[in-house]
């Protein structure tokens, strides 16, 4: 069946089987390999993408369900320069091996859209569906908060 999506702002189409998982559609059919496959059982969150702005685990959704919807993957964060969440992960050493990072950044981005100044607990709660096998959670929490501060400064700068 034909699946049409808008991914990172671009319209893309591919012909897939009904059972094709969204994550494989993104990685194989659309050749966007920034979205990773980890546990493949809805536990680890490395395959997290934003579906119409909301984080979902793309290993637990069929590609046909995304037909007509908007998807954002890690590749869509950078717009000329690094997105503040990417810059903050770099700055705060929010990644070690980097495998969980795309999911962590997208979940962090979605959190910051609701709350630019999250507490430690709020960040930990928001990323609790995403696992970091390097156990680098301290710096992931810091990075998301740093990005929030950055975005909030940019916002008040824009209104000033």
């Amino acid at each position: 069946m034909e699946v049409n999506v808008t991914i990172n702002g671009a319209a893309r189409t591919a012909e897939v089987e009904a059972r094709t998982l969204l994550v494989d559609f993104i990685r194989t059919n659309l050749s966007l390999t920034g979205t990773h496959i980890g546990c493949d059982t809805t536990s680890c969150g490395v395959c997290t993408v934003l579906l119409d702005g909301t984080p979902v685990k793309s290993c637990t959704m069929f590609a046909f369900q995304a037909d007509g919807h908007e998807i954002q993957t890690v590749e869509g964060l950078k717009n000329g320069e690094l997105h503040p969440i990417q810059a903050a992960f770099k700055e705060e050493h929010g990644l070690q091996c980097g495998f969980c990072t795309p999911g962590m950044m997208l979940v962090g981005k979605a959190l910051l859209e609701e709350n630019l100044n999250p507490t430690d607990d709020e960040v930990r709660w928001a990323i609790s569906g995403n696992l970091c096998r390097c156990t680098g959670y301290m710096n992931i929490v810091k990075a998301i908060q740093t990005a929030g501060a950055e975005l909030s400064a940019a916002e008040s700068g824009a209104t000033a």
Binding site: M1, E17, A18, R19, L21, D40, T41, T42, S43, G45, T48, T54, P55, V56, K57, T60, M61, F62, F64, Q65, D67, V107, W125, A126, S128, G129, N130
Partner: protein, 286 residues
Amino acid sequence: MYPAAFEVTKARTLDEALAKLADLGDDGRVLAGGQSLIPMMKLRVAAPTHLVDINEIPDLDGIKQVNGHMSVGALARHADVVRADVANHTVAAAAPWVADPVVRNRGTMCGSIAHCDPEGDWNSVMLAVRAQVVATSSSGERVIPIDEFVKDFFTNSLQEGEMVTEVRVPNYAGAGGGDYLKLERKIGDYATVAVAIHLDLAGDGTIAQAGVALTAVNHVNTRASDAEAILVGNAPSEELFAAAADAAAAAADPVSDIRGPAEYKRDVVRVFTRRGLASALAKAQD
């Protein structure tokens, strides 16, 4: 991991979905949030030959107050329940404990209820609050009390061609309170043990209605009837709650597994029931 091949119907209206389900009989499965169904298909524990995807049907995602109850539609996600202004304390307490935040964006309350996984949270909540499940087919609607709906291990009482379109949580008749206490190894893991508590107080402060239901300690979510019988008609007290907690523990028949030995789990039921009753009472009296 890949599911076995299947056909799919992307329903645009409820009538279209129901007509297709009637046509398919036992071969059809409803795809709502898919957070349990898709993993089961990938593990080949389930292999439906035809999925009826209801995600694009409008107006099925409502959470609203109607005629003395809260109605939750078939496409209301767990995250919608977390965000909603839910008056029922048991539902409100349980919602943030279902799965993990990303899964909650997709999984639905009605889907989880229909799934009847004894380690699932919602059916214990629904047993405690005495919810009703609305099953709809192309020939009409049945309103099924939750005790009749939850039949057995992964088994509900839906008939061929029916789907869950709504669950109804009754409002408190008097001063009401509730809680959901869950022990899990990590967020997103199944419950080691969880207990749902519901209290509705009469005008004189005695317990008019009590709900105590258990997750992950039997082959099906279980109403602790003896515990409820101890509570109803009596004035709340620590002694009464301790007696009900002992009865709830006696209703648990857990298995020893990687999440803990049976004896430990049974004791957690006892402790959680006592604590849950105390906190439900505090909320009812607040």
